[in-house]
C-alpha cells in the first residue's frame, strides 16, 4: 500500500508538488504538505490555528488545483503557513481542515511566495499498489 509522503519535482522556472497516499484524500493532503515545503520546512510550522476549506470542481484534477489554490489563498490572505491537513471528499466536493500559524519570518525563513497552482502536469492517478498520487506545478 502506498505510504503517505510528498516530494517536489523539477519544472523549468517553477516547481512541481506531488503527494502520495493510500487514499485520494491522503494524497491530496500530502500534496498540500509538499506545497508548504516549497515555502518552508513544514516541521517548523506549529498547528496553532484551525482553518476550514471547502471546494468543488467538475473532476479530480481541477479539484486538486482548486484545493491547492484555496490553500494559497488562505496563506496569502491570513499571512499564515499550514502544517497539518485533514481532507474529506464526497465525489468532487472537498472539505478540509488545515492547522497552522502566522508567518514568523525569522523562524520559518520563507523562501518564496506561491502565486498559484497551475494546470501544468496536473494529474490525479491511482498507483500500481492501490494507492493514489496527486501532483501539479506551482507558480512561484
Amino acid at each position: 500500500m502506498t505510504a503517505e509522503h510528498w516530494e517536489h519535482f523539477h519544472h523549468q522556472a517553477d516547481i512541481g508538488v506531488r503527494g502520495f497516499g493510500p487514499t485520494k484524500e491522503a494524497a491530496f493532503a500530502q500534496t498540500a504538505l509538499a506545497l508548504t515545503g516549497v515555502i518552508t520546512d513544514p516541521e517548523e510550522v506549529k498547528p496553532q490555528e484551525m482553518v476550514p476549506v471547502v471546494c468543488e470542481a467538475p473532476d479530480d484534477e481541477l479539484l486538486l488545483a482548486d484545493w491547492l489554490n484555496a490553500l494559497v489563498y488562505e496563506m496569502a490572505h491570513r499571512k499564515m503557513l499550514f502544517h497539518r491537513f485533514e481532507v474529506k471528499m464526497t465525489g468532487h466536493r472537498l472539505q478540509a481542515t488545515m492547522w497552522g500559524e502566522t508567518v514568523d519570518v525569522a523562524r520559518h525563513q520563507p523562501a518564496v511566495e506561491i502565486k498559484g497552482a497551475t494546470y501544468t502536469e496536473l494529474r490525479v492517478r491511482p498507483t500500481e499498489d492501490g494507492g493514489w498520487v496527486a501532483q501539479c506545478v506551482v507558480d512561484v
Binding site: Q12, I15, L62, H77, K115, T118
Partner: protein
C-alpha cells in the same frame, strides 16, 4: 483570449529610475542606503504595505492604476508619460475581479513580493549605443534604481479564478485544449470579455504597486541625497494581453497580443511613446538576479515584423530551486556578493540561496541573442550595488 497565456503574475514588470548620482556618491553611504531601503520597502512572504485598501478605494485603484497612485500623492504627474498606457489601462472592470482577489490585495499595495522580484540600485557599467543612451539619460558610471514586481495577490488570484473558468467553459465554446494550462475563451464570449475586464484591472494594480514602491524609494533617497530627483526612465510589463495594431498578411489589424515572459518593444516613431523617447524607441528593461547584470535595450523597427514588437524579459532559471539550495547557502551567497561590493538585503536566507546568481542562465547571452535577432538593440549594461529581495 487565454488566461494561461498571460500567467498568474499579471503585468509583472520592470521600471528603472534615473538618480543623477554616480557610483562614487553612493559608495559613501551604501550600507546605510541598503539598510534604509530594506526597512522601507516591504518584501518577502507575509509582508504588508502601509496602504490598506477597502472598497471603494480598491475599485478606484483598479480603474486608475498609476494615475490613481499619483492622485493619492505617490509620485508625480510627469511619471505617467514614462509608463505604458500613460499609467492607466483602459477598459478595466473592477466588478469582474473576485472578492477573494480583492481581499488578498487589501494589505499588499506597495509590497515587492518574493522569488525573482527585487529592488536594485545599479551602476551603468557599459554603454553600447551612445545616441540612444543620451536620449534615455544614461551615462557610464551613473546610478539607477530598478524595481521588478507585479500585481501581487490580486493578479495571482485573477489568474487562478479565470484559469478554472476558462477550462470549465472550453467545451461550451467547442475548444479542445491540448494542455489545460492553455485555458482560453473566444474574445467576444462572456468569459473572454469578463477576463479582459479583470485582467486589465490586474494591470492597473501592478502599475499602482510599482508607483507606490517608487514613492517609497524616492523618500529613502531624499533622506540620503536631498537634491536627487529620481526621474522615471520607463515602466514596462512582461505578462499582459493588449490590443495593438500590427501588420499581418500585409494589412494593419488590431490584434490581442499575449506576452508572457516577453517585453513589449515598440520601435522608433511609435505613437504610444512620449515625445522625448519617440526618436529612440521604447526602453526594453531586462532584469538579472542579484550578482548578475541587467540590461537596457531599445525597441527596433524590425521587431514589429519579427515578433509583433516583442523581446525577451530575462534569462530564466538554469536549475531548480531545490538544486540551488543544495549547491549554495544564503549566507555564503550574501558574503560572496558583499566581497564583490554588492549588498543583499533579504528576510530569507533560503530565498537568497534559491535566487543565487548561478541558478540563472547567462543573461548577457540572452540579451545578445535578442540584439542579433533585431528584436531590440542593446543600449546599456547595469551592474548591481544593492539588492533588496523578498
Amino acid at each position: 483570449m487565454s488566461a494561461g497565456g498571460v500567467g498568474f503574475d499579471i503585468s509583472c514588470g520592470v521600471r528603472t529610475l534615473l538618480t543623477g548620482l554616480t557610483r562614487k556618491d553612493v559608495e559613501s553611504v551604501k550600507k546605510a542606503l541598503a539598510d534604509s531601503l530594506y526597512r522601507q520597502i516591504p518584501a518577502g512572504v507575509g509582508s504588508t504595505g502601509r496602504v490598506h485598501l477597502e472598497r471603494p478605494d480598491m475599485d478606484a485603484m483598479l480603474r486608475g492604476g498609476a494615475q490613481w497612485a499619483v492622485s493619492q500623492g505617490f509620485g508625480f504627474a510627469e511619471d505617467l508619460n514614462r509608463i505604458e498606457e500613460h499609467g492607466c489601462m483602459n477598459g478595466a472592470e473592477p466588478e469582474r475581479v473576485s472578492e477573494q482577489a480583492k481581499r488578498r490585495q487589501k494589505d499588499e499595495m506597495g509590497t515587492l513580493g518574493s522569488g525573482n522580484h527585487y529592488l536594485e540600485v545599479q551602476e551603468v557599467t557599459r554603454v553600447y549605443d551612445g545616441r540612444i543612451a543620451g536620449i534615455y539619460g544614461l551615462r557610464h558610471g551613473d546610478v539607477v534604481v530598478t524595481i521588478h514586481c507585479g500585481s501581487r495577490g490580486l493578479g495571482h488570484q485573477i489568474g487562478a479564478d479565470f484559469l478554472k473558468e476558462m477550462v470549465v467553459a472550453a467545451p461550451k465554446y467547442h475548444l479542445e485544449l491540448p494542455e489545460r494550462e492553455l485555458a482560453s475563451a473566444p474574445i467576444n464570449s462572456p468569459t473572454g470579455q469578463k477576463y479582459l475586464g479583470a485582467m486589465r484591472a490586474g494591470i492597473n494594480c501592478a502599475l499602482a504597486n510599482r508607483q507606490i514602491l517608487t514613492h517609497l524609494t524616492r523618500k529613502v533617497f531624499a533622506h540620503h541625497f536631498p537634491t536627487a530627483k529620481l526621474a522615471l526612465l520607463y515602466d514596462v510589463s512582461h505578462n499582459t494581453c493588449k490590443v495593438e495594431e500590427h501588420l499581418l498578411d500585409n494589412k494593419r489589424r488590431p490584434l490581442y497580443v499575449h506576452r508572457k515572459g516577453a517585453t513589449r518593444a515598440f520601435g522608433p516613431g511609435h505613437p504610444e511613446l512620449c515625445a522625448e523617447l519617440r526618436a529612440a524607441g521604447q526602453p526594453v528593461l531586462i532584469g538579472g538576479s542579484m550578482g548578475t547584470c541587467s540590461y537596457i535595450l531599445a525597441g527596433t523597427t524590425e521587431s514589429e515584423g519579427e515578433a509583433f514588437s516583442s523581446a525577451v524579459h530575462g534569462a530564466g532559471r538554469a536549475m531548480s530551486r531545490h538544486e540551488a539550495t543544495r549547491r549554495w547557502q544564503g549566507r555564503q551567497v550574501m558574503d560572496e556578493l558583499a566581497g564583490r561590493g554588492i549588498l543583499i538585503r533579504s528576510p530569507s536566507a533560503r530565498g537568497v540561496a534559491e535566487e543565487a546568481p548561478g541558478a540563472y542562465k547567462d543573461v548577457s547571452a540572452v540579451v545578445e541573442a535578442a540584439d542579433h535577432a533585431h528584436l531590440a538593440r542593446m543600449v546599456a549594461k547595469l551592474e548591481p550595488l544593492i539588492c533588496v529581495k523578498g
